[in-house]
Structures are given as structure tokens and as C-alpha cells.
């Protein structure tokens, strides 16, 4: 099973776009937080969970999705949102707390909703899984071939929601795919201090479904495993669990002192940067040259810059707007 050239290039530029988005956010987030870091201060206040290093999980499966497919994402949502095609300007404006944001500034970083591409996220660990099951149920009832993807971290696989949702999805043979991003940590707690089994794909046997493991943060293997899972889902063969080994280059959230991990841990992860590796692969396979890649990189980075500028230039909502949007009637 070989990957179409366009898909590979799409994955590459999307990973670059995500990384550039996050690196920009790293800087923007610190605006107004120096010299003294105050989580509530600055251009973008509140918690900030970035996805640098975890791009393969997002692009490998989103490469198989359309606007009709649903994605439910957790507290670390940017890579999924961008890969799913969420409106980047309004997403960024939301995190700036502006009236032009996806939620008019009411949601924030962990609460990005873009119904146009059926994207949602939540700050509650595990909570998105049953909601993805519900989207898949709606697709089945309506007879479409849409699928629903729930992204979670490896820590979320120990939540009750994981178990209940997979049992229900398997029972009803719903087109759901649970992608477990194993970045080794739930905040400061290592996977082996939280999870009683080697890899969460093994838990598929508890539901009589297929589980797949993608090692080494490999976007190409993620693409292939996702292709199989999405195909099964669209064919009415029910849910799949895919666990991908991935890397968290940054702290759990910005400002995390990271006293719980070794000095050399992150550097050694960064040496295996999935973006560099995919670039080398593309070039070594002669799928294109440096020039085109640079072109593509610049194009997506321009879109990111534009999004931040849009956010910056947008207005804050009127304070009284806080009382709106509770009920529609």
C-alpha cells in the first residue's frame, strides 16, 4: 500500500503548518507574561497545551477525512483542529479572546467548535469519546458514510468514558476511531505509572474490535493504519483503536517546570523530529525537491501569520455579551 504523492506532500506541509502555528503560539503566549510569568496575564491567558512533536497523529488520519467526518479532540487540540481544516483565523481569534473567534471569545483554547468541519474539543479528559460515538451514531442513522474520530492521550485511556464508549461503539458497530496519542505522560505521570497494559491498542480485545499500534511517531505508518481503520468504519465494520507512540516536545502546558523528566529526554526526542524525517523521506524518494517544499512551507506559514494578525486586529467582545448565547430561545 503506497501513499499518493499529493497525500504525502499534504501531510508534510500540514505538519509544518501545525508546528509553525504552535511555535508562534509559544511566543505569543509569553507576551505580557515576562518578566514575571502570570498565567492570567498577556495576549493569550489561561492554560495552553501545545502539540509540538505530535503532528503525525493528526495528519496521518485527517488525510483520510472530509468535512462530513467528525473530530472530537481533547485539551491539546491545535494539531487536530488545523489538520481537520478548522478556520484558522477564527480559531486564533478565539484564543485571543476576540469577538471574531469561533466562540465569540467564550470558549478559549480548550473549547474550539467549528461545525462547518465538524470539529469540537473539550478540557475534560475522556469526554470527547462518547460524543464521537454519538456523531457516528448520527451518521449511521442518516445512512451517510461519515466517520467520527476521537483523539485522546494515553492517560485518557484509563478513564471510564474510554471503556463505556468503546463498548457502545463496538456493540452498535459504529464508525468510530479512537486515536490514542501516547506521548508517555499524563501531565507528570508516566504511562507505566498509570496504565496496566503495554499499549492501549491491546485493549481492543476487550471489545472484540481491531487495535493497531504505530511506533516511533511515524506519520506514514499512521497514515496506513488510519486508512485501514477509516475503510473498516465506512464499511460498517465498526470501531478501531489506534495507539501511536508520539513525542511531547514541550511541557504539559506552557509554564510547566517539567521537574519530572530528565534533562536529556526532550533533546533526544527532538533529534527524531517527525517533520525532518518526513522531509528526508520525500526527498530521498525523489517525490519533489527542496524548492517546492520551501514554497509549500512558506505558503502555509503565511496563512498562520495571517491568522495571528487577524486575531490581533480583531476587537474584544462587549462585556455584556457574556450574558448572550446561553439559550437559543
Amino acid at each position: 500500500m503506497s501513499i499518493p504523492r499529493e497525500k504525502l506532500l499534504w501531510m508534510y506541509e500540514m505538519m509544518v503548518k501545525i508546528r509553525y502555528y504552535e511555535e508562534t503560539m509559544e511566543e505569543v503566549y509569553m507576551e505580557g507574561k515576562t518578566p514575571a510569568f502570570n498565567i492570567g496575564a498577556g495576549t493569550v491567558p489561561g492554560e495552553m497545551h501545545l502539540s509540538n512533536g505530535q503532528e503525525p497523529a493528526a495528519v496521518g488520519i485527517c488525510a483520510h477525512l472530509t468535512d462530513e467526518d467528525t473530530v472530537a479532540s481533547p485539551h491539546r487540540p491545535h494539531h487536530h483542529a488545523i489538520a481537520k481544516g478548522v478556520d484558522l483565523n477564527r480559531m486564533t481569534a478565539e484564543m485571543f479572546g476576540k469577538a471574531t473567534g469561533l466562540g465569540k471569545g467564550k470558549g478559549g483554547h480548550m473549547h474550539l467548535f467549528d461545525p462547518r468541519v465538524k470539529f469540537a474539543c473539550s478540557g475534560i479528559v475522556g469526554a470527547g469519546i462518547p460524543q464521537a460515538v454519538g456523531a457516528a451514531l448520527a451518521a449511521k442513522k442518516r445512512g451517510t458514510d461519515a466517520v467520527a474520530v476521537a483523539f485522546i492521550g494515553e492517560g485518557a485511556a484509563n478513564s471510564g468514558a474510554f471503556h463505556e464508549s468503546l463498548n457502545l461503539a463496538a456493540l452498535w458497530k459504529l464508525p468510530v476511531i479512537v486515536v490514542v496519542e501516547d506521548n508517555q505522560y499524563g501531565i507528570s505521570v508516566p504511562k507505566d505509572s498509570a496504565t496496566s497494559v503495554e499499549s492501549n491498542h491491546l485493549r481492543a480485545s476487550a471489545y472484540g474490535i481491531v487495535g493497531e499500534r504505530v511506533d516511533d511517531n511515524n506519520p506514514i505508518e499512521m497514515y496506513k493504519a488510519s486508512e485501514r481503520a477509516v475503510e473498516r468504519a465506512r464499511n460498517g465494520e465498526g470501531p478501531t483503536i489506534i495507539e501511536i507512540e508520539t513525542y511531547r516536545f514541550l511541557g504539559h502546558f506552557q509554564g510547566d517546570p517539567e521537574l519530572y523528566r530528565g534533562e536529556d529526554e526532550v533533546p533526544s526526542l527532538r533529534e527524531k523530529d517527525p517533520i525532518d524525517r518526513l522531509k528526508n523521506y520525500i526527498l530521498s524518494e525523489g517525490l519533489t525537491d527542496e524548492v517546492e517544499l520551501t514554497e509549500r512551507e512558506n505558503r502555509v506559514k503565511a496563512l498562520v501569520d495571517e491568522a495571528y494578525q487577524f486575531a490581533r486586529e480583531s476587537e474584544y467582545p462587549e462585556p455584556e455579551a457574556a450574558l448572550e448565547d446561553l439559550f437559543s430561545s
Binding site: T70, P115, P130, Q131, A138, E164, L168, E324
Partner: protein, 341 residues
Amino acid sequence: METVKKQRLLTGNKAMAEAIALEMERNEEVFVLGEDVGKYGGIFGSTEGLLDKFGPERIMDTPISETAFIGAAIGAAAEGMRPITELMFVDFFGVCMDQIYNHMAKIPYMSGGNVKMPMVLMTAVGGEYNDAAQHSQTLYATFAHLPGMKVVAPTTPYDLKGMMTSAIRDDDPVVFMFHKTLQGLGWMDQLDAAVGHVPEEAYTVPLGKANVAREGADVTIVGIQMMTVYALEAAERLAEEGINVEVIDLRSLVPLDKETILESVRKTHRLLVVDEDYLSYGMTAEISAIVAEEALYDLDSPIKRLAIPDVPIPYSRPLEQFVVPSADKIYEAVKEMLEED
């Protein structure tokens, strides 16, 4: 025709189920999921007969996985469907409240109104049949305190049908609490109030309006569901003694119909609030506070509250009877209020 309709009596559960059936016929996107809603017809009859009418694709039995199936209802509602999901007993909210209050209730607001949540969460409330601490609560305030959900608790069969119809048609999430005793089930207390006139066709009763169940000039009693029933019973007896009680059936906790309450208090100058929920930090407190804020000078005597005295519902009959307000206790409370001044 009219007269024929007037004869048409239904129990609370049949009225509810009829509303669901009519809406399911009107709208393909309405479906029901919950534990034992299929062949069993709902432990408290909320889905009686629906499986035969609509089949297992639209009346879906679920595993005992409240977080999963209520979360699934939320996910389906976000896609524009109109699920009705049942939490068998409200007492079980603790295993799935995150989906309910952090998602069902907040997603519309957090999305700036871009995602609608047109779903109904129906759940059985209430005690007085010795089902003890984990199966006898109403928890009205537990839901009403948390913003983003409409919380209704109809009393009469007429309102059960009309408010269920409104709830299903509403684009906002509605927590629909039905009282077990008011379902008129064959295996529970047989209560006149649990049977009533219900028109055959679909009709709506608004979700945010209280109902003046009995007019009176001397004292206002605010109650909901069984407490309304008991208040009306007490009112009868008090009327024999020349005391005219106005009984307000709240029907809806969110939105709360302040105006009807304030109007009544401005007329009677006395307020008794009765609740089958716990006393502290509950409905009786909210109603009292509103009056103390907005009609303080209209009060001729201190506000009185009757509710479960902040203990879990005990099992044994004499103990449960001691903690749940009754027509007698309401009667006594009103007498005390009038004697006090």
C-alpha cells in the same frame, strides 16, 4: 368532540410517552436511547409502547453506561439530531454528570451559539416508596444550579405531555424530570393527581411558566410535583377553616417564573416554600431569596421553608415519612405562620 376529549383520561406516563410518539412521527430525527426503554418501556413507563411503534432503531436499549449513551446523545444532538435520553433515576447523575453539565449544558455557550444542543434528558425523581438513599431523591437544585440547561418538572398528565412536546421541539437542552408517583403506574401508590385529561393531538405547554394551581388571598405556597399535590390537599383543609391558600405549581426551575411568584406574594403577603429536595442550598432557598430581594416590604411574616432536613433519604417508613414534607406538615406550617402574627 370537545366533550369527548374531556373524557380522555391518561396517566402521567402515558401522557409523556404519547408526546414522544407524536414528535417521533413528526420528525425522523427524534429518537430515544436509555436503559430498558425498549421491551420494558422504561422502568417508570416513560417509553411505554414506543418500541412496538418505532422499532429498535429508534427506541434503543443501552448498556449500563450512562456516560457513553448520554455523551452519545450529546454528540448526535451536535450533529443536529434530536435525541431523547433517559437517566433511569436522577440519583444516578453522579456517574455521568460531566457529560450533562460540562458538555450538554455548556457547549452551546462555549461555541458562542454556533452549536445547538436540541436534546432532552428525561429522568425519574422522587421517593416515598421506601427506596432509600440512592433511589428516592429529586435533586431539583443540583441541576437547576448549573447554567445552560432548562430544568422542568411537570406535575399533571396534561403538563407532562405538553411540556415534553415543548422540550423535544426546543433547540436547547432540557432536563425533563418526571415524578415516579405522578406517572400513575399500577405498581405504585394510586393517586388521583396521576390521572388527568389529556387531549389526543399534539400541543405544547411553555417551559418557563409557573402555574397558579389554586387561587387564594391569605398565603402563597410554592411547590413542585408531589409538593404541589400536597399543598393543594392542605389548601382544601385550610379552606374549610376559612384560610385561602394560593398554590403555585412551579413546573419549571430553569427558567424560573419569578413574576408569578412575586405577584402572588404581593397579593398574599405570606410565603411558604415546599420542596421534596434537600433544604439547604435548594429551591426553597432560591425562591425565598428572590422574594427577600424583590418583595421584602410586601411580607407580613417571615418566609417559611419545608424540605428534606439535610439528611439522605432513610429507608424505614417512619423515618422517611419524618423527613419528607406532607399535606399535614404543610397544613401545620401554614397555621403556624398565621398564628405567629
